[in-house]
């Protein structure tokens, strides 16, 4: 088979992994070598589905011994199979990189033989790129669940990022949909990766403690003070799949990430680990998914959690036959994830057991604001950075611009737009030292009256992405 045909099969087989990020690494250029890392990441093009392409994302082989129901490459699916020769793949990476087509590569593979032999093959391509080719571009390697700690550590040595995908948001779904993968196999790789990056993974809640029995306030305690941190693999009780919502005295993901000192020029895993959750292939609610994501950020120092709308390829009775990928749901989950990482929100502020799904019509921050009207309006001339961040229509950039701009003179409502505030949303939630902005196209001035504000805050996401809501009889399929 020639390279072009292999590339066609093996990139097609790899494309359902959402991660294409190239940020987080500032791997320096070597003299006489090729390439370096760009800490902010660089997109090189955008595919017809609008997603950024920055990496050559391919499988080394799509022959797979396992049978995960959501995956095109599963053993029981009838597709063409192919595999790259290691040299062939090395050439492709270098040829593409020198032309500035790509920022680096994301190499993964179906499980050929056992997890360890598959890992070894991936590692050997990585080693050739780094050592023989003196290539310092961005490298993302996939770890195979169940691979030995030693091989995971070696992958971490060559790569900027290593990821292992959880895919199914509960142990139960994993068991029925991906029978060859166990929580133990996945989470032990995540632990090894956290350790390779210099982070001791933590157990956030002991399995026999329910959220309500955790004291809700614990004055004077430091972060994690009342949460037992378990170290050492021997002490781990597996399978760990703690997807309960966070207790209220947990730190936010943003706080914890701010406190983590990172070195983007580090030789080992500068861009950390990430994982992916498939949305819509199993019955878990958004609350369960976000609770799990929060735990992954806090307990394993996960750098990114990707949410991938399930794309039904060829039918399998273990997963629903959706009319199309649930893109709207995926979009809202990403927005909520953004609130963890950059806005200081916690999972239980966004969703709770009695409100398990994100609002389809509102961005989760607007939805939160409308449920918490007692915290508004916020005076933009007084509020601190974190309070500003909580205002719909104000983001990290406009919040810091507000702080800069008001140090000169008090801001008036007319000035906010120019600072990057989206007044269409913010007008309901702010004052400028008592002056209330006008709502465009209405005689009303802001004073958020919930029904009126809600109607005005609905965004267009449903029209653009909606259509594929879940209507699948989960019980019947079990």
């Amino acid at each position: 088979m020639d390279t072009i045909r292999k590339l066609e099969i093996l990139s097609d087989a790899a494309k359902y992994d959402a991660s294409c990020s190239s940020s987080g690494s500032a791997r320096p250029a070597l003299s006489g070598g090729l390439g370096n890392g760009a800490v902010g990441g660089i997109c090189h093009t955008w595919a017809a589905d609008g997603r950024c392409v920055s990496l050559l994302k391919v499988l080394l082989s799509n022959a797979c011994a396992w049978d995960c129901a959501y995956c095109v490459n599963r053993r029981s699916n009838d597709v063409s199979r192919a595999g790259f020769e290691p040299e062939e793949l090395v050439r492709l990476v270098i040829d593409f990189y020198k032309r500035n087509y790509i920022e680096g590569a994301f190499l993964s593979s179906g499980v050929t033989g056992c997890p360890d032999t598959t890992m070894e093959r991936l590692i050997s391509v990585a080693r050739t790129l780094r050592v023989r080719e003196r290539w310092n571009g961005y490298l993302h390697l996939k770890a195979i669940p169940g691979a030995s700690e030693q091989l995971v550590a070696e992958a971490a040595r060559w790569a900027d990022r290593v990821s292992v995908n959880i895919e199914l948001p509960s142990a139960e779904s994993l068991g029925s949909v991906a029978p060859d993968k166990s929580p133990r196999a996945i989470f032990s790789v995540m632990r090894s990766l956290a350790r390779a990056g210099g982070f001791e993974p933590r157990r956030l809640l002991p399995t026999d403690v329910t959220p309500s029995s955790v004291p809700s306030s614990n004055p004077g305690s430091t972060a994690f003070g009342n949460l037992p941190a378990v170290s050492g693999a021997a002490a781990e009780r597996v399978p760990v799949y703690d997807v309960r919502l966070a207790s209220t005295d947990r730190p936010s993901v943003m706080e914890v990430r701010k406190d983590r000192r990172r070195n983007p020029e580090a030789a080992v895993l500068p861009a950390g680990q990430s994982t992916q959750l498939v949305v819509g292939a199993s019955p878990e609610s958004d609350a369960v998914i976000l609770g799990l994501a929060e735990n992954l950020y806090l307990a394993y120092d996960g750098r990114r959690v990707y949410y991938s709308a399930f794309v039904p390829t060829t039918p399998d009775p273990r997963v629903p036959a959706l009319p199309g990928p649930p893109l709207l749901r995926e979009h809202r989950l990403y927005q909520a994830d953004w609130l963890f990482r950059f806005y200081g929100f916690k999972a239980d502020e966004i969703l709770s057991a009695d409100r398990p799904f994100l609002d389809a019509d509102l961005d989760p921050k607007c939805a939160w604001a409308l449920r918490n009207l007692d915290r508004f309006p916020v005076d933009v001339n007084r509020a601190d950075y974190l309070e500003l961040l909580r205002v719909p229509g104000i983001g990290p950039r406009s919040a810091s611009r507000i702080l800069r701009a008001r140090s000169g003179s008090a801001l008036k409502p007319e000035a906010l737009q120019a600072l990057g505030v989206v007044m269409k949303r913010a007008a309901f939630f702010v004052t400028c030292s008592g002056t209330v902005p006008r709502i465009a196209g209405s005689m009303k001035s802001a004073n958020p009256e919930a029904a009126f504000a809600r109607a005005a805050l609905v965004d267009g996401a449903r029209e653009k992405l909606g259509g594929t809501q879940l209507e699948f009889d989960w019980d019947a399929s079990a």
């Binding site: 390279t3 072009i4 590339l7 066609e8 990139s11 097609d12 494309k15 359902y16 250029a29 003299s31 006489g32 070598g33 090729l34 390439g35 370096n36 760009a38 902010g40 660089i42 997109c43 090189h44 093009t45 955008w46 595919a47 017809a48 589905d49 609008g50 997603r51 950024c52 392409v53 920055s54 050559l56 994302k57 492709l92 040829d95 593409f96 020198k98 032309r99 500035n100 087509y101 920022e103 709308a309 794309v311 199309g324 990928p325 893109l327 611009r401 800069r404 701009a405 140090s407 000169g408 003179s409 801001l411 000035a415 120019a418 600072l419």
Partner: protein, 263 residues
């Protein structure tokens, strides 16, 4: 506006602009406007031309950067390179403020000129960042690499270091076709920016311009084909979203992108 006080005009280049600013700084309040000579004069405008003098420009640059620091000077350069209409006039005003108050002058976002400068700088910075990804090299038969680009802002000065660090052992040129400028890099050396660049090519197109397509190295077309194939294969059909694609990568960039060629 204050046409009676006169307008100082310069010819295109950044050093020329700085000389005009130096002249404006020396004049009494209200400060004269600084304009690109290519802007059509208004009816009652008294224009005064300043010649480009690189030493004078460098002296002003050093003076202001001693007061305002290098971060602010990056913003100054970016704002100028944006080429946005009116950005230069605002920038001249802002340079005056930087000279007086130092870097904190840039914090006063309630000032229209500061805001305009910041906007312009952001635009150039973003386009520069985008071109770190959108530059496409082709390998020529002599082993060197050539990338034609057509950015809206004059981004070459902003991206030169990125490319010469990344491809330090490659001999390459990144050629801004509209402005005629180019980043030239020889293996293991720092890069240089040249004006009026011409590709040294044996083959020419109709009209006598050099034809890089006729100078490609062997195998170049095959690698382009692999890349175009990869680009098509990676899109997920049920997620197709041309509008989103175009919002990230406007059509004006497509003609220079290998993968966006006619399929």
């Amino acid at each position: 506006m204050n046409g009676a006080e006169g307008t100082i005009v310069y010819h295109g280049s950044f050093p020329g602009f700085l000389c005009a600013c130096a002249e404006a700084l020396n004049s009494r309040e209200p400060a004269p406007r600084v304009l690109d000579a290519r802007v059509e004069p208004t009816l009652f405008e008294a224009r005064f031309q300043v010649a480009r003098d690189d030493e004078r420009a460098a002296a002003l640059w050093d003076r202001i950067s001693n007061r305002a620091g290098s971060q602010a000077m990056v913003t100054v350069l970016e704002a100028f390179l944006s080429g946005m209409p009116g950005a230069d006039a605002s920038l001249a005003t802002v340079l005056r403020k930087l000279w007086r108050k130092g870097a904190k002058a840039l914090d006063d976002l309630s000032d229209g000129d500061v805001l305009a400068v910041e906007k312009a700088a952001l635009r150039a910075r973003q386009e520069g960042h985008k071109f770190c990804g959108l530059v496409r090299f082709s390998k020529l038969s002599d082993g060197s690499w050539y990338a034609p680009v057509e950015p809206s802002c004059d981004v070459l000065p902003l991206i030169a270091e990125h490319f010469s660090t990344r491809f330090s052992s490659m001999r390459f040129a990144i050629h801004d076709l509209a402005r005629g400028s180019a980043i030239i890099h020889e293996a293991g050396r720092p890069c240089s920016l040249v004006e009026g660049f011409h590709l040294d090519a044996a083959t020419t197109q109709d009209g006598g311009r050099p034809d890089p397509e006729a100078e490609l190295s062997r195998g170049e077309k095959e690698i382009r084909a692999l890349w175009s194939l990869y680009f098509r294969a990676i899109a997920i059909e049920p997620r197709r979203n041309r509008r989103l694609q175009m919002s990230h990568m406007p059509r004006k960039y497509w003609s220079r992108l290998t993968e966006m060629g006619p399929d």
